[in-house]
Each structure stands twice: as C-alpha cells, then as structure tokens.
Symmetry: C2
Subunit: 255 residues, 2 copies
C-alpha cells in the first residue's frame, strides 16, 4: 500500500430494487461506514444524510467519471460507496469501475469490494411467481453501448435456445421505436400465447405488475422503470401467478 492510498476503499453496493427491506445487512453496514456516497441522482437520494457523510450525486451516462472520482477519493483515504440500484454487477456500476481501473494503473492497488444486491428481474419474478424458474437470459435492451443488431442477435438465440428472458432498460423516450422492434422479433420467434410480464418499480409505492400474452403486448406497456420478463414455451399461469416449470420434456418440433 503506497502512502497516497492510506486506508481508503471503494465499495460498489447494490441497493436492491427500492424497498429498504430488500437491502442486505452487508450493504447497510457499508453505508454506515462510508465517508462518501457516489452514484446516479435517484440512487444517492435513497441514502439518508448524516454528519461525516458526503453525498456526490451525478447524472446518468457519466459512469466512468463517477468511477474515476471514487478511485481518486479512495486514494485520499476516503471510504467511498458507489451505489447502484439492484445488483451492481447487472448492467450497473461494477463493470464501469473496472473499466476505469483498467485505465488507471496508479490506482491498481485500490481496496475494492463489490456487494451484491437483489437485482430487478429477481424481485419482479418473485412478485409474479416464478417465471425465471428454469434457464433464462438477462438482456439489456439499451443500445447506448452496443449496436441494436447485437440486441437482435441475442434475442433470437435466447428464443431459439428455449430460454426465458428478462429485459432491462426496455424503453426510453430517446428510443421508443426499439421496443416495438423487440416485440416484432419475439413474434417471429415465439408463439402468440407466450406470456410476458411487465413489472414496474417493484417494491416501491409505484409498483405495477401485469402479465399478458405476446399477442396482447404493446410497446407502451414498458418504460425505463420496467423490467420485462418473457417466459419460455412452458411458462403458464396458476391462479394469479405465472411460473415456469422445472422440468423440460425432450425437445419436439412444436413451436
């Protein structure tokens, strides 16, 4: 440990989907020991101010700057917690921190911890029943950081492989047409009766949950606070619940 690094550290912590009851004790302890909280504005807003704690909210799409700032503060001996919604390793700040670390050999010895959280798709699945009860994929539908052709390629492989799917960032004001295209691709690959759950803001007061068939699904059922879960061929309803059985019979030619 070099003199400039003292006892600082960077912790990347998952706050879960919204409710305090879904924040792990490990994360709560890290927040209690922090000197600085770094993160996207709405996530930092979830942290209660207290003496000795500095909040550093920042805008969306500045993940690398945020990570650099955290590494620099840790080098000054600060205990920095970068907060993510859900799990920090699922389409969130953990990868951004390592991308930043790769460009900063002077910070290579930083004490780093990644603390898992309840990711949105699992909170949503629990509310709906067990739609991810068999093999599944998680796909970020945003094309901020990848070409949409890559999204399409993955959708088709996921469908053809018989996976259930969870979509993060399905739709935003800047790209409303893409989720329309996603539904078209799903309709080419899956039967019309395939079940889709739209789960918005799970575990918050704004929670909304609805399950429809692929034939009934429309683009405006999703927004950026929604996780979309597409079942596999066997996913079905029992009462108000949606679940995917654990068993798979031998493959057939049926769609």
């Amino acid at each position: 440990m070099t003199p400039t690094q003292q006892a600082g550290r960077v912790t990347v912590a998952g706050l879960g989907p919204g409710a305090d009851a879904l924040v792990t004790p490990e994360v709560t302890a890290a927040l209690a020991e922090a000197t600085d909280i770094v993160g996207y504005i709405p996530y930092v807003a979830r942290i209660a101010p207290r003496p000795g704690l500095t909040l550093h909210p920042s805008d969306n799409r500045v993940e690398l700057d945020r990570a650099q700032t955290a590494l620099d503060m840790a080098a000054q001996g600060r205990h920095v917690v970068i907060v993510s919604s859900g799990d920090p390793g699922v389409f969130a700040m953990a990868s951004a921190l390592f991308e930043a670390l790769e460009t900063r050999p002077d910070r290579a010895d930083t004490d780093i911890r990644i603390l898992p959280g309840i990711t949105a798709m699992l909170a949503a699945a629990a509310r709906a029943g067990a739609p991810l009860g068999h093999d599944f994929c998680a796909i970020n539908l945003s094309d901020n950081l990848k070409p949409f052709a890559e999204v399409e390629r993955r959708l088709r492989h996921a469908a053809q492989g018989g996976f259930a799917m969870a979509f993060y960032n399905p739709r935003s004001k800047s790209r409303p047409h893409q989720f329309t295209r996603v539904l078209e691709i799903l309709r080419e690959e899956c039967e019309p009766a395939r079940l889709i759950t739209f789960a918005r803001a799970v575990s918050t007061p704004e929670e909304q949950l609805s399950t429809v068939t692929l034939a009934e699904a429309t683009p405006e059922m999703a927004d950026m606070r929604t996780v979309v879960i597409v079942g596999n061929e066997a996913t079905r309803r029992v009462g108000r619940w949606v679940y995917t059985p654990r068993s798979v019979p031998a493959p057939t030619d049926a769609e």
Copy 2:
C-alpha cells in the same frame, strides 16, 4: 377465504448464498413470524431453533412433497416458510410450489409470498469482479429434470449469442461425465482464452474462487457447491479482478 384456510400462509424465502449478512431484512422478518420451516436439510439447518417454531427438514429431490406439505399446513392456519438457498425463483423451490399448487385446486386460495434472495451467481460474480456485467444466461446443468440434449442446445445458443453464462449444479457424483462434455461443447463454441470462474460456497467459510482460461479448465474444478461463470468474448482481467465491459463493438467475424 374458506374456513379451512384461516390465516395461514406459505412464504418461499431465499436465504442467499450462505452468509447472514446476505439475508434480506424481509426474509429475516418472515422467519421471525414463521411457525414452520420447510426445506432441504442443509438449508433448514441454517435456521436457529426457537420456541413455537417447528423445523421440517427433508431430503433433496422431494420438492413437490415438500410443497404439498407446506400448502396443507397453511390450510391449517400455520405460517409456513419454505427456505431455499440463494433466490427461490432460480432453480429452487418457487417453481416447485406452483407445480404443486396446480395439482391442488383445493389450495388455490392459499396466501403465498415469494421473497427474493441473493442468488449464487450474483454473489459469485461480485467476488470475482463483474463477469456478468453484460448480457448473460443462467443454465442449470443438472439433467435430473431435462434431457442433456436440451442443456447442449442451450449452451450452444448462449455461446453463439455472445452471452456470458452462469452454470448452476455443474457436477455431481452421479453424473461426473457431463461437466466434461459441457467443457467440450464450450471448446467447440468459444476461443481457448475465454475466462471461466469457479466459485465454490461463496460467502461461507469454505469459499474458494479461481479463474482460469477455457483451455486450462478441468471438470474436477467444479462440484455441486460450485457456480461456474463463463465470460463472453470481451471478458478480461484487471489486476485480481475479472470483468465484462459494458460496451460491445459492432459484431465482427472474429471467433
């Protein structure tokens, strides 16, 4: 609510990968209110006995019996918690409960709650860095409930789709040869330098973590307490960490 159902309920709760610090407050509260705990022996062993609480440990592979028992106890007014390791919706008891419910119209009105937990792959990913930082799949390698041909089909689609992958139940004494075959399939689909992390018993005193290349991976690196994480083509090391970048360039012909 029929007279036989009184105020009973069935809660399916995820205990996370092992450490108490990874159990959500929501689950802790449910356990505190329970009259009965149902589950696989090692998971029930994690629950501290107390007056008024009956523990019902059962063997592996009796998931449906366990779920039936829980439904019947709830009908007698008991507050039953079915405990799962990790998240109950990921290759665990939530689907089994709904399968049981489907066969029991007399229990259709049961008050059911599914409480999410930290699933093994996300705890493992956090320890390793952020290997699931981009699109990924979760695959149960056990062929107890599906033909191995289905496992193979999914592996190939996951690899060809450019997904990172997390494998649950990679290897058991009764089918040691299958993980050998999984590695062969991966070698057909992925480049030899592909990174694979073997994460055993994360967050417990028996935790072990190692990352090797696909060329170096051997079947005995996994057992039933291991989660295996295969990166995508871009997954790389930075210092002692393994991570998958958030960005994907336009697809190329490169393997």
